[in-house]
């Protein structure tokens, strides 16, 4: 088993939290993992990505090779497409629909959606709205993880356990809210 995932977004949108939860769940399942992050200059409102690799065998490279990525999980639609060259022919692109506009030349939404929909395997959802409906827009990243969970080769319950480990310090209410966000994302994918 191996799964190569590129997490994408804009600095500050919480992709490293997604990485931490998937990573925790992978380890709890006895899998190997490597995760390359971006620190420094690119965090200041720029594009950020993280390469997350999980496998039951040895993992060598910290970077995912072009054309090898099994899943792009993005919290922002344009950022999802930035990594399209990495996606394998059978790979999934799972992205939040809500644009993060901090540049003057942000592309036309329709063109973006068309490009995304042209991929054979994609999931497009308004995770901001779903999170807002649940009472906390900041759980958007966990909604996205929930939407991706259906396609991740890790049992769903492991993500719940990992959420508890990662958010446990912040209290039971925060954990519960995130577990709900995870479930809402999952429900969307299963519709």
């Amino acid at each position: 088993m191996k799964q190569d995932i590129i997490l994408a977004g804009v600095g500050g949108q919480g992709i490293l939290t997604i990485a931490a939860i998937i990573g925790q769940a992978a380890i709890d399942n006895g899998l190997n993992m490597k995760q390359a992050e971006v620190h420094g200059m690119s965090q200041r409102g720029g594009d950020v990505q993280s390469h997350l690799r999980i496998s039951d065998m040895d993992i060598h490279s910290d970077l995912i090779a072009e054309g090898d990525c099994d899943m792009i999980l993005s919290v922002e639609p344009m950022e999802a497409l930035r990594y399209k060259p990495y996606l394998s022919v059978e790979g999934w692109l799972i992205t939040n629909k809500k644009p993060f506009i901090n540049i003057p030349n942000y592309p036309d939404m329709e063109a973006l959606e068309n490009e995304i929909r042209s991929l054979p395997r994609q999931v497009l959802l308004d995770a901001d709205q779903i999170a807002k409906d649940l009472g906390n827009v900041r759980a958007m990243n966990i909604v996205m993880l929930g939407a991706a969970s259906k396609y991740l080769k890790i049992p769903y319950e492991s993500f719940e356990v990992a959420l508890e480990k990662v958010f446990g310090r912040k209290g039971a209410a925060v954990v519960e809210m995130n577990i709900n966000a995870l479930a809402a994302g999952k429900a969307f994918s299963e519709k």
Partner: protein, 539 residues
């Protein structure tokens, strides 16, 4: 023991602490910053109360580490690659005086320039200084090599370089820890001459350094981190250095290539091992992250051996970061490595945060310069930090970024040449790092210029570390000789705009050294500070 998920930086930090390090000395710089940040939070480091506060710059950090090594204790200095340029003097000379307690000089390179002003390969410095260099290929090696480096350092009485790169520093993987070693006892040098570089002693030390090179080479030949993996297909042998070993393994495993591989993680170059390896293969592919150090050494100035492929013959690009695709192309397994992003995707460069104090400083500066020079004719010398982003539109506020501290000294040179008005814009942490000496030059020469020290109370660019000059900027300027009435503290907020423009104008018109200090906390640092305050209150 259960594995811990650690960044390469963190694995090295934990390794050094577990190997009995008594003090880490560093100045922040991507991708090395997380080493010190980890030590500052590491329970074992806190328990032992090992030294773990930031230094003013990389030179002071390395010198302090040499001082700790003098006392027999184990120590580590850390910096980004360009930081070693700043620390080059103590670094080079530390090879002469050597080490008493083990000294690891950790340098994190940034091939591909993710967050740097240049791309340079620190292994050249290790070779230049003639000291051993370790180049881990993964997080576990980062951890294990800390132990190995201290052993080497104390065995040969030399500092040892640990070379990391961005992808290793900032990538996480499982690391297994060992039993913690005790710290060394205080044990001052037995030889009174050891740390004395008067020429007569220095000459002897250089001869000694030259004399022990064969031993260092032998240590590399026998290093547990250098090895040969045999392969049936001897048409090609791959020399894979440090991190690049992972990319090689990734590709050879996937495509089931059975070439012999020599993994290089300890220098000086183990020539015997390499010669034997080269003799057994038809062609040699050298895969190294950074500049072609090994390749150049194998080729020599007048290449007699044209079996060697790498960055010099165009097999790989001469610049830029390695990756699995480049290796696959070099092995003839894949075609292009050019990444084609869909047309609809626009660039999203980093920018100053909304509410950043630098924005207000630049707005005022842009306004005041209108009354002195025509649009497009303004020249402002600047430096490295978040504020370098002020070069970009819509601000277009600055013209230069050379190296830390250069804003003041470049402005001085320009003012000496007759440029008016001459403005230097420098960050508060950068000023502490290496702006002070330049300011003293200006005072000495009574240079006509305005120095703007952007005081956002933090080292913003690298994630908000504190810095040594914090809270002392006016005192430093007065101490260096700036006249009190020409040190002007302003508040960079839009409601102070007019006033700030007026103050800048006055100081530009003053013929002499003026310092303007726009003071308002970085919004990111403030948010973090508030959050941790809240947490403390909750407790």
């Amino acid at each position: 023991m259960k594995k811990q998920m650690l960044l390469g930086d963190e694995a090295l930090a934990q390794g050094a602490v577990d190997a009995g390090c008594s003090g880490v000395f560093a100045y922040p710089g991507t991708p090395s910053t997380e080493i010190m940040e980890y030590v500052q939070k590491c329970p074992e480091a806190i328990e032992r109360n090992i030294h773990r506060t930031w230094a003013s710059n990389e030179k002071t950090a390395v010198e302090a580490a040499v001082g700790m090594s003098y006392t027999g204790k184990r120590t580590m200095s850390c910096m980004k690659h360009v930081g070693l340029n700043v620390a080059a003097d103590p670094f080079m000379n530390s090879a002469f005086v050597g080490a008493n307690g083990g000294h690891i000089v950790t340098v994190a390179d940034d091939p591909g320039m993710h967050s740097s002003q240049n791309e340079q390969d620190s292994r050249f410095y290790a070779k230049f200084a003639m000291i051993p260099c370790l180049e881990p290929s993964n997080q576990q090696e980062c951890y294990d090599m800390a132990f190995h480096a201290y052993e080497l350092s104390e065995k040969f009485h030399l500092p040892v370089m640990m070379r990391l790169e961005t992808r290793l520093s900032h990538s996480r993987s499982g690391v297994e820890r060992r039993e913690m070693l005790p710290e060394n006892e205080l044990k001052l040098p037995e030889d009174r001459n050891q740390f004395m570089l008067l020429p007569a002693f220095a000459r002897r030390k250089y001869k000694h350094l030259i004399a022990i090179q064969p031993e260092l080479e032998a240590a590399a030949e026998n290093s547990p981190f250098n090895w040969v993996e045999d392969g049936k297909d001897k048409s090609l042998g791959i020399i894979a250095c440090g991190l690049a070993y992972n990319y090689v393994k990734e590709v050879t495993t996937r495509y089931k290539c059975d070439y012999p591989i020599l993994k290089m993680s300890q220098y000086p170059l183990p020539v015997g091992m390499i010669k034997k390896f080269m003799d057994s293969c038809d062609y040699i592919l050298v895969v190294e992250e950074g500049q072609p150090l090994v390749e150049e050494m194998l080729k020599g100035a007048i290449p007699r051996d044209n079996r060697i492929k790498g960055r010099l013959d165009g097999t790989f690009t001469r610049d830029g970061e390695m990756n699995p695709n480049k290796v696959a192309v070099a092995l003839g397994k894949e075609k292009s490595t050019e990444i084609i992003i869909p047309d609809v995707v626009a660039g999203r460069p980093p920018a100053l945060c909304v509410g950043c104090p630098h924005i207000d400083s630049y707005k005022a500066l842009n306004e005041v310069l209108k009354s002195f020079v025509e649009d497009g004719q303004r020249h402002v010398f600047s430096d490295i930090g978040c504020y370098t982003l002020g070069f970009l539109p819509p601000y277009n506020a600055i013209n230069t970024c050379l190296d830390m501290g250069a804003s003041i000294t470049m402005a001085k040179g320009a003012s000496d040449a007759g440029l008016f008005p001459t403005i230097a814009v420098i960050g508060d942490s950068t000023f502490s790092h290496s702006g002070m000496t330049g300011l003293l030059d200006c005072i000495y020469d009574k240079t006509n210029l305005v120095i703007i020290i952007l005081d956002n109370s933090t080292t913003g660019m690298t994630g908000g570390q504190d810095y040594t000059g914090f809270g002392k900027l006016e005192a430093i300027c007065i101490g260096l000789g700036v006249e009190k009435e020409h040190i002007r503290v302003i508040t960079p907020l839009s409601r102070h705009f007019e006033e700030n423009v007026a103050i800048m104008k006055e100081e530009i018109e003053y013929n002499g050294v003026s310092v303007i200090i726009p003071r308002r906390e970085c919004v990111q640092t403030m948010t973090r500070r508030m959050r941790s305050l809240k947490k403390q209150e909750a407790k």
